[in-house]
Symmetry: C2
Subunit: 196 residues, 2 copies
């Protein structure tokens, strides 16, 4: 864990984004919600472990990957705009098939079922916020999936650059290629064609 | 709209699945929650329309599809086990790029933002149930997407038959092929190889 200068400030900034929360409530929530600051390289969950916590990315980048026939394959990048790091393996407490690794120094809200339940009981407004966030993330996830089904590899890359351009400077190309369901060589060819 | 013998009974059965709801609450909710029974062939939303409602499938099958270069492409099948029919276009009230069509006589919970808000205010327990359903659907959607990225077309079909076998008798093969991101010919070859 590294020391972050202002995790509290980041959390306040994040909570201020929800009109349902007033200032009094926000200052109470800041005391309740656990924020952690894992350093770049921290593995949050390993393949074969039962995830103890779920997370929300306030700052930084968490990558989800797994090994298929010895090859590392990236299946998700969680960032400030795609923040909910959770899975069936967390909610059902089963073995994770994938790794979750901090690719940058991160600031994460760390939740688990007991803390969440206690907070929901004390602050019912949180339920509404969580519902809203889940709904948004679900819609985006469905839309991403529909687009993936419908698109050619080149279209996928163009859309990725339109919507997640920030990532292109934060992760190596072979991880982007893997996430877009193609080899690094294919992505390289597509990029050359687009540039020329 | 066709007459369904027992929409009320189906709704009660569905609500009984949530331990957080007691019998008194369920009988109140049954009066509040609007259930519709659109017949096979009903188009719930057309491309270019703003979706007025979102739905939950109690019974039947709703297919999501759109036209790409004149070809109809299926991107989702919503059934009793994958029930939440919603999208960014509903929550943001923008033009739908896809159609939603009832492929069977259906029984659907029809929601919209005003009804939902009124029900949430009167029955706070509903928020928790909705949160739980959204969380489950989000986890499944993410998992489906990760699997799609990682799998070969043959693996996708095998997994489809393991997890959504019920669909294989309910929709034509070319729609399944499209949903799995392949041509009908490729799926046909894969099926032959698996059978032999």
């Amino acid at each position: 864990m590294t020391q972050n200068p202002s995790p509290r400030k980041q959390l306040i900034e994040f909570l201020c984004g929800f009109p349902a929360l007033n200032e009094v409530l926000i200052s109470k929530l800041v005391e309740m919600i656990p924020v952690i600051a894992p350093a770049r390289g921290t593995i949050l969950v390993r393949e074969g472990e039962v995830p103890a916590d779920c997370y929300f990315v306030l700052k930084g980048l968490v990558r989800q990957y797994q090994f298929i026939d010895g090859n590392e394959r990236t299946t998700e990048f969680y960032t400030e705009t795609h923040g909910i790091v959770s899975s069936r393996h967390y909610t059902e407490q089963t073995l994770s098939p994938f790794f979750l690794e901090c690719m940058e120094d991160c600031l994460l809200i760390a939740g688990n079922m007991e803390i969440d339940e206690a907070n929901y009981r004390e602050f019912p407004e949180l339920r509404e916020i969580t519902r809203h966030m889940l709904e948004q993330d679900l819609n985006r996830s469905k839309e991403d999936h529909a687009r993936f089904i419908l698109s050619s590899p080149a279209d996928r890359y163009v859309h990725f650059m339109e919507t997640r351009k920030d990532l292109s400077n934060r992760v190596p190309l072979h991880q982007i290629a893997s996430y877009l369901g193609m080899t690094a060589e294919s992505l390289s060819r597509i990029r050359k064609r687009i540039i020329s």
